[in-house]
Subunit: 383 residues, 2 copies
C-alpha cells in the first residue's frame, strides 16, 4: 500500500482511502459502489468521489445500475497489464495478467538446468512476446513484472543454490530490469506459491498458512497475518534443511540428515534406483498407482519425513493450513496421507490435526504468484 | 491500538493521531512536543492540540521549555497504574508499574507446585496489596492487570500442562477477573519474556526475535515485525517439543526425543544424577564453574541440543536475534557457547551466525512482560 502525504494529514487520509477502494477492486470481484462502501467502511459519498477521481484518470470503468450506489465498478483494461516470470530448475514460464491478478495467457519452455542467467532472461523475453501476441496486447501496456526464482534471494541477489547454478551471485533484479526495461519485483518461488495459494488457492481465508514446495529442492513460503513473511535477512522458510537425523547423509548445505535428503525428487529417485532404475517422479508415482509396493513404500517414507518437518513448523508457527506443492505433490494422497501421519506423530496434540492439503494451483502456483506480486505492487493512484 | 470512529472518517483520523502520540509517550522516554512531532510525523500544530486534549483529561503532564515546541510531555501519574502477575511452576511474582511499563515495586513468594488455581490467585492478591503498600499507591489507581502462566492458553483457558497441574482446564481469565475485579490480559510466560526483551531488553531494535525460556518446560515467545505472534490457535512457539530423535525418550506430549528431553532443568538433573545426586540447576552450574568436568559436559550437551532446535527456528523464521532465558540461562556461556555451536552445525550458512544471547532481564523477564502487556493494553483516550 502506497500512501502519499505526511502521515496524519488529510492528504494522506485521501490517499489511504483511495488505496482501500483500489485494494477491493484488485480482488477482482464484481462490485457496486454500495459494496465498496461496505467493504472499505468508507462513507458512500467518499466512495463516489474516489470512484469519480479514478474514472477520470482512466483507471476504473463504471456501469450504471439502480442509482449511483448500484453503479458497478471495475479496474479498467487501460489501467494496464502485468507479467509474471517463473524460473524453475529446467524451465521458464511466463504469464500475462491484469491488475486483479487474473491470467490472460501463459507459456512455458524448457531450459538447460545449468543455463546462464542471460540465456534464461532471453528465453523469458521471447515467451513474453508470445503471450502478448496470444492476448492481443502491447508491450507498452505492461506496468510491472513479478519474477520467481528457485533460490534464496537477498536484495535481489541470488544466493548459493544448487538448483540454479548459472544465477549464483547475479543481481537478478538488475539483470531483469535491463532485459525488460520495466519495474521488477523478485521473490523466491516458494514465497510466490504461498502468495498464490493464499489469494487464489486452497489457503484462501487462512490468515496464517505455509506452502511447501517439494521438487528437487524443498522450500517453504510463509504467510502470517495475511502477508508474506521474509524474516530479518529475507531467508525465512528454509524447511528443506531442518535436520531430521544428525547422523544422516551429508547435505550440500553443510549439515547432515536434512529433510531434502529424505523428501525430494532426487531422494525419491535414489530410493527407487534399484527397483525402477532411471525412473522420474511421474513414473514412480504411476508405478505406485499400479500397485508397485516398493514405489508405494518410497512415497510413504518421503511423506513420513515431510510430516516430521511439518510438525516442527506447526509446533512453532501454528498455521491454519499447510499446503504441499512442487513436483512431488503430483503424488497426491500417496504422499500426503503419510505426511499427515508423520505430522501427527511429531506434533503437539493441540496442532496435530492441522490440515495438510495439496496445492490447488499445482505447478502453476509460482507463476500465478508472480503475476499477483506484480499486480499488487503496481501503484494505482489518481490525484 | 484502539481507534474510534468509522474508518476513513476525520473522527478516526483524530483518534489515530492521538494514539500515535500516546504510543510514543508509553515508550517512557523524556520527550518534547518537537520530539513528538518528529517521532509521529504529525504537524506541530496537530501535536499541540492533541497534547492540550490529553492534558485537560489529566492523562499527561507538561513542563515548560523553550517555547511551545520545547514543552516536555509525559504520561501523568494520575493516568493510572497497572500490575503484572507472573505464575511459575512453584512461585508467583507480582509487580506494580506505571503506563510506560516501568516497575515501581515487586514481590515474589513460593507456591506449592501442585497448587490449585484459587490458592495461586489468593497469593497473588496478597502480594498485590503488599506492592501497592510498598509504592504508597491505592488499588483504585489500577487500570489493568497482565498475567503470565507457564502453559499454553487458548481463549484464556489453560491447556494440558505438566507444569501447572492445578490450573488445567481452568478459565484463568475469568478466575482472575473475579479475584481482582479488574480488566485482565493473560499470556503464556514465554510470550511475555519475548515482549519484555523486545521492549526493554537485549532484543530491543530487532523487528524479529525469538525468546526461548528453558526451565522445567521449554517454550518460546516469537516477536515478528515488532509484535507478538500467536498463530492461528494461539499455540505458536512450542519449541520444547521439536523432535530431535524419533527413537528418543517418550515425552509427556505423546512424541519422542523432544528438545525438552535433552535441554531442561529435569534433563540436566537426570544427566547428573549419578555424579551429583539430588543437585539442582544452580548446584550443577556452580560445580561446572568449579571445574567439575561432568557438569561442564552435561551443560554442553544441553546446549548442543538447544542449538539444534534453534537451527530449525532460524532456518524457518530468520530472526535477527535469539534470546535464551529461564532457569537454565543462569548457566550463561556454559550453555550458550555450545548452543551457538549446535546452531551453526544444523543451520544454513546464511543464518548460522544468528546471535544467541542471554536474557537481559533474567528471571524477571516474564514479570516485566506482564507489566508491559497491561500497560500497552490500557486505553488512553481523551475525546
Amino acid at each position: 500500500m502506497s500512501v502519499t502525504g505526511s502521515p496524519g494529514s488529510t492528504a494522506s487520509l485521501r490517499s489511504a482511502n483511495q488505496q482501500r477502494v483500489v485494494d477491493v477492486l484488485r480482488s477482482g470481484d464484481q462490485v457496486t459502489q454500495a459494496d465498496l462502501a461496505r467493504q472499505t467502511g468508507l462513507a458512500p459519498a467518499t466512495v463516489s468521489s474516489i470512484v469519480r477521481d479514478l474514472a477520470s484518470a482512466g483507471l476504473v470503468t463504471t456501469e450504471p445500475g439502480s442509482g449511483r450506489r448500484g453503479t458497478t465498478v471495475a479496474l479498467a483494461a487501460a489501467a494496464g497489464l502485468v507479467a509474471g516470470v517463473d524460473f524453475g530448475h529446467s524451465h521458464v514460464s511466463v504469464a500475462l495478467g491484469d491488475l486483479t491478478g487474473t491470467l490472460l495467457a501463459e507459456r512455458r519452455t524448457p531450459l538447460d538446468s545449468g543455463h546462464p542467467c542471460d540465456a534464461g532472461l532471453d528465453a523469458a523475453a521471447d515467451l513474453l512476446d508470445e503471450v502478448l501476441d496470444d492476448a492481443d496486447a502491447k508491450f507498452d501496456s505492461l506496468r510491472c513484472i513479478g519474477m520467481g526464482l528457485p533460490a534464496p534471494l537477498t536484495d535481489g541477489i541470488v544466493r548459493s543454490s544448487a538448483i540454479l547454478p548459472g544465477w549464483v551471485g547475479v543481481n537478478a533484479l538488475d539483470a531483469a530490469r535491463q532485459q525488460f526495461g520495466l519495474e521488477i519485483h523478485a521473490e523466491n518461488d516458494a514465497n510466490l506459491g504461498a502468495l498464490a495459494e493464499h489469494r487464489h488457492g486452497v489457503a484462501r481465508g487462512h490468515a496464517n498458512s505455509v506452502f511447501v514446495k517439494v521438487s528437487s529442492g524443498v522450500g517453504a513460503g510463509i504467510v502470517l497475518e495475511d502477508r508474506l513473511f521474509h524474516g530479518s535477512g529475507g531467508t525465512a522458510g528454509e524447511i528443506g534443511h531442518l535436520t531430521l537425523d544428525e547422523s544422516g547423509p551429508v547435505c550440500r548445505c553443510g549439515s547432515r540428515g536434512c529433510l531434502e535428503a529424505y523428501t525430494s525428487t532426487g531422494a525419491l529417485q535414489a530410493m527407487m534406483h534399484t527397483q525402477l532404475p532411471g525412473a522420474g517422479v511421474d513414473e514412480i508415482v504411476a508405478a505406485a498407482r499400479q500397485g508397485n509396493v516398493s514405489a508405494v513404500r518410497a512415497l510413504e517414507d518421503a511423506g513420513l519425513h515431510l510430516g516430521w518437518a511439518l510438525a516442527s513448523v506447526v509446533n512453532l508457527l501454528n498455521p491454519g493450513l499447510v499446503v504441499v506443492g512442487g513436483d512431488m505433490a503430483r503424488a497426491g494422497e500417496l504422499l500426503l496421507e503419510s505426511a499427515r501421519i508423520g505430522l501427527r506423530r511429531h506434533a503437539l496434540d493441540a496442532v496435530a490435526a492441522t490440515p495438510v492439503e495439496a496445492s490447488e494451483l499445482g505447478e502453476r502456483a509460482s507463476l500465478v504468484g508472480a503475476v499477483l506480486l506484480a499486480a499488487e505492487r503496481t501503484e494505482l493512484t489518481a490525484v
